[in-house]
Amino acid sequence: AKHGLQMAPSVGTYTAHWDGYLDRRTDHADTIREIRKWSHKDADNYDDFKQTVNDITRFIRPAIDIPAPDPYGDPHEWLDYAGLAKDFGHLPLRTKGALLDLITGSAYDFLSRWFEGEPLVATMSASGIIGTFLGIKSPGTGMVFLHHYFGEIDGSFREWALPQGGTGAVATAIANAARFHGATTRTDAPVKQILLKGDRAIGVVLESGEEIHADTVVSAADARHTFLDMLPAGSLPNDFERAIRNFKFRGSSAKVNFALDGLPTFTAAPPGNGHLMGTVSISPSPDYMEKAYDDAKHGHPSHRPFLDMLIPTLVDPSMAPPGKHVATAFVQYAPHKLAPEHGTWDDIKESFGDLVVDTISEFAPDFRNKIVGRQIMTPLDLERTIGLTEGNIFQGEILVQQMAFNRPVSGWARYKTPIKDYWLASSSAHPGGGIMAAPGRLAALEILKSKAGDD
């Protein structure tokens, strides 16, 4: 907490269902009891599942902190991985098998090996589709699921946490650290173009016209901005440019924030407000989730979307006047590319907001009446205001073919780019998105290593 970051562990997940609910909290025995309500088999299998996932995570976790070795790269790039390969050989078959299942298969199929209860399978499989333009039954979503389990706080795996003061607090704390070590940070300084001299980056030009010269330019923007928007046309090799154009961004989610003058009442819920303290998930069944994807595949917002809602004012009451609340909902699917009949996201923004209200109200009928304000961030808004290409929150889809040595381009996954002194440090690089900050760290280390080599 040196630079002012306090993380509060997430307290649990409440899933609303038409015939009841599933309320999983941190207490192990309570969780098992809840799961048993839906399936005895699931409750019996729960510990085995957790064990398997922990084993996999423990094995794969070191890979996040090592740059991806290139299949045609210098053999020394593989040295860091030699231990990992040896460890793989020593894993029990069940762990190896489960790891392969996750890397190649779907989140739904993976979970079905242990579980059958509708809300449990649906809510857990949601980890496989966050920010992804695939359904829970699509192969490849196991990889996204695995990616989510990379979360590590203070040494405990798959512990998602809510920073006090919102996720912005993470950024503030990191900025404080950067400044503490002597970095200058400037906001409202949009970069127009990278300055090149021959095949070398020598600085940037801002929208204001100001030029800043530097030995090294590091871009934490996504791959499309970094290579296609900020470089003069024709500065990249053809193959590389084509590969960047083929890098997939398909954003699939939206964010809707609500100001409420009271807490919503879910039809099926335990007594008290404990279930509202953690994640409130509208993911009642696997078919519900898959149908939400079907709509998106054909260019429609899901008629009944999956959503994860947080009510941060329950954790940090200082965020709103007494009795008032803020609810923030992650909503999927909101496909960036709409079918022609919808027009643009600006055209359907409000009707999409209504649809989100309808969806929550189906399970909490008084939700509708508690709303005093709402703010909708469509994929188009995410693209325009935050600069996320196609509104993709991971700066490039978490697809198996876009991970490790293929992120963002095979042969260019170690933060270097075809332009000398121009580096990529965003989530478009290994190991990808999520607030892990791993690409930034790994890129910085590679740059330092390269500088040391220059001397």
């Binding site: 793989f88 190649t104 242990w114 079907d294 073919q401 040595f405």
Partner: protein, 556 residues
């Protein structure tokens, strides 16, 4: 040498009739290939087939005096080395029409024809809107697929390597057999393989074909046919890569392969059965296995429905992996973890077969008339519109419904091989997708079957007006039939779904993807193992060779 020793030992020891060195389960093409390889190595082999006839899913049916492909209608990927090893050259004849596939658009009257010669395909594509770009892009993807196909050609014949780096010399050699052809590839192609394998067919093809929706769907469909996936499902590009395999005698590329056996697919099965018997294998039909017997984790034989038991230290099963490991063996043998993982393996069948007997060759509007039309109709006739159209058809099946507008791949084998119907009648053999084995509302009863077959004929009528009135007989085989009559768990023609998630050494699952199983003496083969379904014979040959190596090691 070892084979001779084995043979001599087998001849010397007096044996009960009801025992063998190896029992092969299943008399489809893979079972027959395996039995032939085993017998050829001097191993006493008994093959058991539950049905009354051999051939499995490669059968020739008789419909009112006309020979029709009961299920599989092409045998394009049959491994040339298997044909050579088993000496099939004289006994079965394969024909490859110059036209690979013809796609009449169901609504706008246009069509695409792809030929064995990619340059000819490109010339035709040039005439379409944005034709210059599309033709150039087609040649690029075709070249890529051929180069990558040449790599896969070399890894189909053998046991996929262990991912543990190899614990024995044999394993290291297997790894080498996979790696060597890879390192021989140009770097660009090698990198592309590692990127493309997990992709969806539509993403992969879409990188090349950007302005021709119909062609995009036609090519990407190769990644979804026979499987409960859409072209947008990740992993379908891997299926396409296998389909594009190039090698001696087989030649895919972007257009895929179209090869038929003269006399129908059953002719291949007959040739294989003759070869197996010729090498000394014993083949029994009407012999349904109900259990694989084992003791202390070691195979002891097979129990039949008749009550008979056959003793053998080795069993090679070409039945689907779920039947073999979940139905024929108990939990004490397979263990809870393997059972759990195997149960969740994807094996839902969504593909049906409809054979339509017509009095004369129907007119496909987009093919034109006369000789030219006949040439186009010799390839696979693919009826689809767009990627999203296929996805929509797929979506229905996910919830237990039959597609309103199913996707059809038809073949008119009687046009390629007139001996099948000497009197001028024709068979339109249709692979139809998507209709699930288990329906959410209702059953596969006569009413459902009739309305499903009607909807397929309706689709045909769009592109071949008048075909309805030419039909004199129809034969429909649904996934439910595949499950009930062919014993494929889930009714899947490829036993378990194909794609990158059930691929190579993790087909059907990691740990049992190298033909050996945790049950000593039990070998898995058939479409549910590497390199998967289709009439290739490769799973049968590879598994048999793995078993032969084990036997020889045991004999040493």
């Amino acid at each position: 040498m070892a084979a001779k020793k084995q043979k001599a030992a087998a001849a010397e020891a007096p044996r009960a009739r009801n025992s063998a060195d190896v029992i092969v389960l299943g008399g489809g093409h893979n079972g027959l290939v395996a039995a032939a390889y085993l017998a050829r190595a001097g191993i006493k082999t008994i093959l058991l087939e539950a049905r009354g006839e051999l051939g499995g899913m490669a059968l020739t049916a008789d419909i009112d005096g006309v020979k029709a492909p009961m299920l599989a209608h092409t045998v394009g990927r049959f491994r040339p080395r298997v044909a050579r090893d088993l000496g099939l050259a004289g006994s079965v004849r394969l024909v490859e029409p110059e036209v690979r596939s013809f796609a009449p658009h169901p609504r706008d009257g246009s069509s695409i024809t792809l030929y064995r010669d990619p340059k000819r395909s490109a010339e035709e594509l040039e005439k379409r809107p944005h034709g210059k770009e599309t033709a150039a892009a087609f040649l690029k993807i075709d070249g890529r697929l051929r180069r990558i196909g040449a790599y896969f050609e070399q890894v189909l014949d053998g046991v996929p390597p262990s991912l543990d780096g190899g614990k024995s010399v044999a394993e290291m050699l297997a790894g080498f057999a996979f790696r060597k052809p890879f390192t021989d590839l140009k770097e660009g192609d090698g990198r592309e393989i590692l990127r493309i394998l997990p992709m969806s067919a539509s993403d992969f093809v879409g990188e090349y074909i950007q302005n021709d929706e119909h062609l995009l769907a036609m090519l990407a469909w190769r990644g979804a046919i026979y499987n409960a996936v859409g072209p947008m499902s990740p992993g379908t590009a891997a299926t396409m890569l296998f389909d594009g395999i190039t090698g001696d005698g087989a030649d895919g590329g972007a257009a895929g392969q179209t090869v038929v056996a003269i006399g129908g697919p059953g002719a291949l099965a007959t040739a294989l059965a003759d070869a197996a018997r010729g090498f000394g294998a014993e083949i029994r039909t009407g012999a349904k296995a109900v259990a694989i017997t084992e003791q202390d984790g070691r195979v002891t034989g097979v129990a039949l429905a008749s009550g008979e038991e056959i003793a053998a230290p080795y069993v090679l099963s070409t039945l689907d992996p779920k039947t073999t490991l979940l139905s024929l063996l108990g939990v004490e043998a397979t263990g809870p973890d393997l059972r759990r993982r195997l149960r969740a393996t994807r094996s839902t069948g969504v593909t049906s077969k409809l054979n339509v007997l017509v009095d004369k060759l129907p007119t496909f509007t987009a093919a034109g008339k006369g000789e030219a039309a006949q040439e186009k109709l010799r390839g696979r006739i693919v009826i689809l519109e767009s990627i999203l159209g296929i996805e929509k058809a797929f979506d229905a099946s996910k919830y237990g419904r039959i597609s309103e507008r199913p996707i059809i791949e038809a073949l008119i084998p009687t046009l390629i091989d007139p001996s099948l119907a000497p009197d001028g009648r024709h068979i339109v053999s249709c692979v139809v997708q998507y209709a699930p084995a288990v329906l959410k509302d209702g059953e596969w009863d006569e009413t459902t079957r009739k309305s499903f077959a009607d909807s397929v004929v309706d689709q045909l009528e769009h592109v071949a007006p008048g075909i309805t009135n030419l039909i004199s007989a129809r034969q429909l085989i649904t996934p439910a039939d595949l499950q009930n009559d062919w014993g494929a768990t889930g009714g899947h023609a490829m036993h378990v779904n194909e794609g990158f998630d059930q691929f190579a050494q993790w087909r059907p699952l990691y740990g049992i993807g190298r033909y050996e199983t945790p049950i000593e003496g039990l070998f898995l083969s058939g479409a549910g193992t590497h390199p998967g379904g289709g009439v290739t014979g490769a799973p049968g040959a590879n598994a048999a060779e793995a078993l032969i190596r084990t036997l020889r090691r045991a004999a040493d």
